[in-house]
């Protein structure tokens, strides 16, 4: 038998660093560094993620056949950053100093850092940033031929691309370059609305349904959308090329209100802005989809890059019928770049075989029942053990009504969503649960919606969606007759960000829903990530227990161990305030 080929994909030094390991093209491990360092969006060299990846496969860095870095550092620096410095000169001195201090000692030495940290002497490859994004979508899609759209903040130069994937080949055809960027437009408005850039874009998307599209015309002053899918931003409204802030005075004049202070009350105006931005984003994405169709003639579409996490736009592209089917890379942010880079090397450099569609994102660490029990014993934590085949029924009973559960099972998800292995779950029929989970467990803004997980076979009975959505990347309407049944996951505009589940993807989680359905008739539950506001999703039993103890969660299910908060002795009482202080607000 031939020795397997190992490729390590890396992304780091911008945000969301991650490591991905391929064995003969198959993803054997993928994780974001933030989960180990407990620092949200950690951009440091992904030491821990790499160590876990190698350990998981039982290999050392010497066994790697190639390392793939998710972008071209030299191109980014010498071309874009230095050119932009000249373009905006004599503004941007501070930005220039910051960039220089980032690049000179660190980013310019990317290969040296990789070699030193890994003790690796082999080949390192550098696909372009958007090639990595495109590859992460196309090569995971299983489509033999597909159009590919990538859109994010910025890579080297490109911010938006249209490409064409055929078999093992993937080519970018057209691009739009910095500073014109849908991602940066979204981030700039996120900033204007007083939320954290590169982190809270989700909140803006969640806020949009509360508003009216009253400012679409003003938005059109910010961005010139061409019918051929291309666009340009009116740069007089944006300051990110030379300033440390995203936008300035001129955007305040345009919209007639000052930039919102973080954490200050949200007014109807802010909701209307969010909604207007969503309308423009939808329009831009639909234009791009039409252009991609025209350029490639493909039946299928693949999407990646941070903007592809905008599930509202994704849902619109799907319903437009421009393409027969679409695949969206679940790790669409820069963490997924690590995956795409490795896949580029496997397919284009090594001419490796295509693999069927990626089936799940459970690609991180798992903890065995023995490890979990040992951990709980060491802590002196009282718990009950439930036999594995009784676990779904047992937990389903706990779920009914108003309990909120921490659910920790199997391998950790790769990408920004929790999909049933590191989740907080609750009964979607109880409208109180929405408030409870937002305010008393996640400690986040009350307007933010929750996503449902539904048994795949019953999706059509509840939502206007005719296909699977295993990664929570599609938004569709809850059907009118079901809105009152599952109020906790239906947004104000009656939409829902759906996760469908079948037994092949996650047997235990599926069985849990099945058991819940058997006793209540309802195949839907609330699923949200296992963390508090500003905290990375939990990685280990220790993180999970910590988060559980410091919030108002009622039960924690760690593997087969169940902890009931009511039964805990008083010495286990913890205050949430102390816990929350360690995480910066997102």
């Amino acid at each position: 038998m031939n020795k397997p080929i190992y490729i390590l994909g890396l992304s780091c030094f911008y945000h969301d660093s991650a490591a991905v390991l391929l064995r003969d093209g198959e993803i054997v491990f993928a994780a974001q560094e933030e989960r180990y360092t407990r620092k949200k969006h950690d951009e440091a060299f992904p030491k821990s993620a790499i160590a876990h990846a190698l350990e998981h496969a039982g290999i050392t860095a010497n066994d790697l056949n190639a390392v793939a870095f998710y972008e071209k550092p030299m191109l980014k620096f010498f071309d874009r950053i230095l050119q932009t410095t000249m373009k905006v000169w004599p503004r941007g001195l501070r930005q220039y100093h910051l960039a220089m201090h980032e690049w000179m000692p660190k980013k310019l030495w990317t290969p040296q850092i990789i070699q030193k940290e890994l003790g690796y002497k082999g080949k390192i490859f550098y696909p372009a940033h958007h090639e990595s994004h495109a590859a992460s979508a196309f090569f995971c899609s299983g489509f033999p031929d597909a159009a590919v759209i990538t859109a994010d903040g910025v890579g080297e130069w490109a911010t938006t691309t249209i490409g064409h994937g055929q078999g093992k080949d993937l080519k970018l055809l057209k691009e739009i370059r910095y500073p014109h960027s849908l991602g940066l437009l979204y981030s700039a408005i996120t900033y204007y609305l007083g939320f954290k850039v590169n982190s809270a874009e989700y909140k803006v998307m969640g806020l949009a349904p509360y508003g009216e599209p009253k400012y679409v015309e003003q938005m059109r002053q910010l961005i010139d959308l061409k019918p051929d899918g291309s666009f340009a931003l009116a740069m007089q409204y944006f300051t990110y090329e030379y300033g440390l802030r995203m936008t300035g005075k001129s955007i305040e004049t345009l919209f007639g209100k000052p930039t919102r202070d973080p954490e200050s009350p949200l007014e109807q105006f802010h909701k209307d802005i969010a909604r207007s931005l969503q309308e423009i984003t939808d329009e831009a994405m639909l234009n791009l989809a039409r252009a991609a169709k025209q350029l490639t003639g493909s039946k299928y579409l693949c999407l990646a890059g941070g903007v592809a996490l905008n599930c509202v736009s994704n849902g619109k592209i799907l319903r437009s019928g421009i393409f027969e089917d679409i695949f969206i890379q679940p790790a669409s942010g820069d963490a997924g770049g690590a995956l795409g880079a490795a896949l580029m090397v496997w397919h284009k450099q090594m001419q490796g075989e295509r693999l069927p569609r990626m089936q799940h994102t459970y690609l991180g660490n798992a903890y065995s029942q023995e490890e979990i029990e040992q951990f709980l014993k060491d802590q002196g934590m009282p718990y009950d053990t439930v036999a594995l085949h009784d676990l779904p029924q047992y937990v389903a009973k706990l779920l009914e009504g108003e309990n909120v559960l921490g659910w920790f099972q199997g391998r950790m998800e790769f990408g920004p969503r929790s999909l049933g292995n590191r989740s907080i779950i609750a009964d979607a029929r109880n409208p109180e649960n929405w408030k409870k989970v937002n305010l008393k467990i996640k400690f986040r803004e009350s307007f933010r919606p929750f996503a449902p997980t539904i048994l795949e076979e019953r999706t059509k009975e509840y939502f206007a969606l005719d296909r699977e959505s295993p990664y929570m990347l599609l938004v569709a309407d809850t059907l009118p007759d079901k809105r009152r049944e599952i109020p906790a996951v239906t947004h104000v505009d009656s939409s829902a960000r759906i996760q469908t589940i079948n037994r092949n993807q996650n047997a235990l989680y599926y069985d849990l829903l099945k058991a819940f359905e058997a006793s209540t008739g309802c195949p839907v539950i609330i699923n949200t990530s296992f963390n508090v506001r500003g905290e990375p999703i939990v990685e280990s039993p220790k993180d999970a227990l910590n988060c559980f103890l410091h919030t108002h969660m009622d039960y924690l299910v760690l593997g087969q161990c169940v902890i009931d908060k009511k039964k805990l002795p008083p010495e286990w009482k913890r205050s949430s305030e102390e816990y929350l202080k360690q995480f910066a607000l997102d």
Binding site: A68, K72, P73, M74, L75, F78, D79, L82, T85, M86, K87, W89, P90, L93, Y96, H97, M100, H101, M104, T110, P111, K123, F125, Y126, P127, A128, E131, T161, K171, L172, L173, K174, E175, I176, R177, H180, D224, K226, D228, G229, S230, F231, A232, M344, V345, K348, Q349
Partner: protein, 75 residues
């Protein structure tokens, strides 16, 4: 390396000073670079742009279909 305690403090102080000095020096050097080198190029660029004023565009796409990218290189 073993250093006696009184000297140790002096050594620490010296190291901290050298770091601050390094930071100041690099900031000064980078600023000089920014004013003279980048500034000169920036002015030339701005003049060139004045000469070749672009009219409004039909499309903002840049065709990259014949760019060949080589994954081995960082650029």
């Amino acid at each position: 390396m073993h250093i006696p305690v009184p000297l140790r403090r002096l050594y620490d102080l010296w190291m901290r000073f050298s770091q601050v000095l390094g930071r100041i020096m690099s900031t000064i050097l980078l600023t000089i670079l920014w004013i003279f080198v980048f500034g000169l190029y920036a002015i030339i660029l701005k003049c060139m742009r004045l000469v070749s004023r672009q009219s409004s565009k039909e499309t903002y796409w840049i065709d990259v279909s014949d760019h060949s990218t080589e994954m081995r290189y960082q650029f």
